[in-house]
């Protein structure tokens, strides 16, 4: 139990995918102008990441390893993730129009998010079991959501701040992201300390 808790803490704070590993920066910068959009993006990513780490684990263990075609791992994961996400999108569209309105337009975008593929590949590299893989994916997604919502809230305030002319727009966004990354480095060693 303790192990799983540590895994969560480590993926959310210590090895945060956006601010420490610098994966998934595109949605982080791209859809963080408004808090509602960022929240929708965060929810959809949580969903896709958890699902894709489970499905990629299954594909890796039951198809790639027995057939000894691990060298095709990356493309196999892309295929699986895209198919699974498309399938879920259809099911959600049919069964829950409300949820579809919140997640709908983000789901196809997220299939090409590098954090999603990164989590799937890291799961294999670290040799996690099924439950650990799902937890790792979920933790990564929670970390992504946390950073996403924090950053969107900061950017909403930045929009009305008196920013020097040359820093307005993307530059101040990138500077903020850098300062946030430095702040998140403060969590380094937290997972070891909890041991």
């Amino acid at each position: 139990m303790n192990e799983y808790f540590l895994l969560l803490v480590s993926t959310i704070f210590v090895n945060n995918f956006v601010l420490v590993k610098f994966l998934g920066l595109c949605p982080f910068m791209g859809s963080s102008r408004k808090l509602e959009v960022a929240t929708g993006m965060a929810l959809a990513t949580t969903f896709v990441l958890t699902l894709s780490s489970a499905s990629s684990y299954l594909v890796n263990t039951y198809i790639l390893l027995p057939l000894e075609i691990e060298y095709l791992r990356t493309i196999a994961f892309i295929l699986v993730i895209a198919a699974v996400v498309n399938f879920t999108e259809m099911v959600v569209h049919k069964t829950s129009p409300m949820l579809y309105q919140v997640l709908g337009m983000f789901l196809p975008l997220i299939t090409t998010n590098c954090a999603v593929l990164g989590v799937a590949l890291l799961n294999v590299q670290t040799g996690y079991g099924f439950f650990e893989s799902v937890l790792f994916g979920f933790g990564a997604a929670i970390g992504f959501s946390l950073v996403m919502i924090l950053f969107a809230s900061i950017r909403e305030r930045l929009a009305v701040a008196d920013v020097p002319e040359i820093f307005q727009g993307a530059p101040i966004g990138l500077i903020t992201a850098g300062i946030m990354a430095i702040a998140f480095l403060g969590f380094a060693g937290l997972d070891k300390g909890l041991h």
Partner: protein
């Protein structure tokens, strides 16, 4: 090598089959009217109709929330075919949304101007130069694009044209804020006032 190819063909066909089947099973019945309207729209997703995309605009037309003349890319042809489809009156293209999107400036078509000085009296910033029975002209750098001179002109020789963006008049996009965010809009209005005062001084 062969195993890889076979496994991938199998995997891809499996997913293709599942997705194809689920597309049939989970097909969402959408309103046929919305689909028909959406099929007529140009699908540029430009947002000039003030909706997020063509499909949203189609939905708004179908539910009667939006008029049919809000699509500049579609032009008069689109309005005509929408009017035919929905059996309503064709309207002239509503370009107010598009016209207000950027800064505009008044221009006097000098061939038509009769020199009546009505626009000079209407101009709040004295940006129009001319005298009675003399051709008038607009000082572009002074014009605020307020459109007050358009209505008084008896011969309709004043046109509002968008200012072309050049390296010398380009500026950073203004910060965006929520209108429902009280604190933010207060800051913004005060900033605007300060700026306006500075320009006057």
């Amino acid at each position: 090598m062969i195993t890889g190819i076979l496994a991938f063909v199998a995997l891809a066909s499996f997913f293709g089959l599942v997705l194809g089947l689920s597309a049939v099973i989970f097909k969402v019945e959408s309103s046929p009217v919305v689909d028909q309207i959406d099929a007529l729209l140009p699908q540029t997703q430009c947002g000039q109709c003030s909706f997020a995309g063509c499909h949203q605009y189609a939905q708004a037309i179908a539910s009667g929330d939006a008029p049919i003349n809000k699509c500049p890319p579609g032009g008069d042809n689109l309005i005509q075919s929408l009017a035919d489809l929905l059996d309503v009156e064709a309207l002239p293209l509503d370009e107010t949304e598009a016209a207000h999107s950027g800064p505009i400036v008044a221009v006097i078509i000098e061939d038509t101007c009769i020199g009546c000085t009505l626009c000079i009296q209407a101009c709040p910033v004295d940006a129009i130069l001319g005298a009675a029975k003399q051709m008038h002209t607009v000082i572009e750098s002074e014009c605020t694009g307020c459109e007050l001179c358009v209505a008084p002109c008896p011969v309709d020789c004043i046109e509002m044209i968008p200012i072309k963006q050049t390296i010398s008049n380009w500026r950073w996009p203004e910060p965006q804020y929520h209108t429902n965010n009280q604190a933010a809009s207060t800051i913004y209005t005060t900033l605007d006032q300060v700026l306006a005062e500075n320009t006057q001084a």
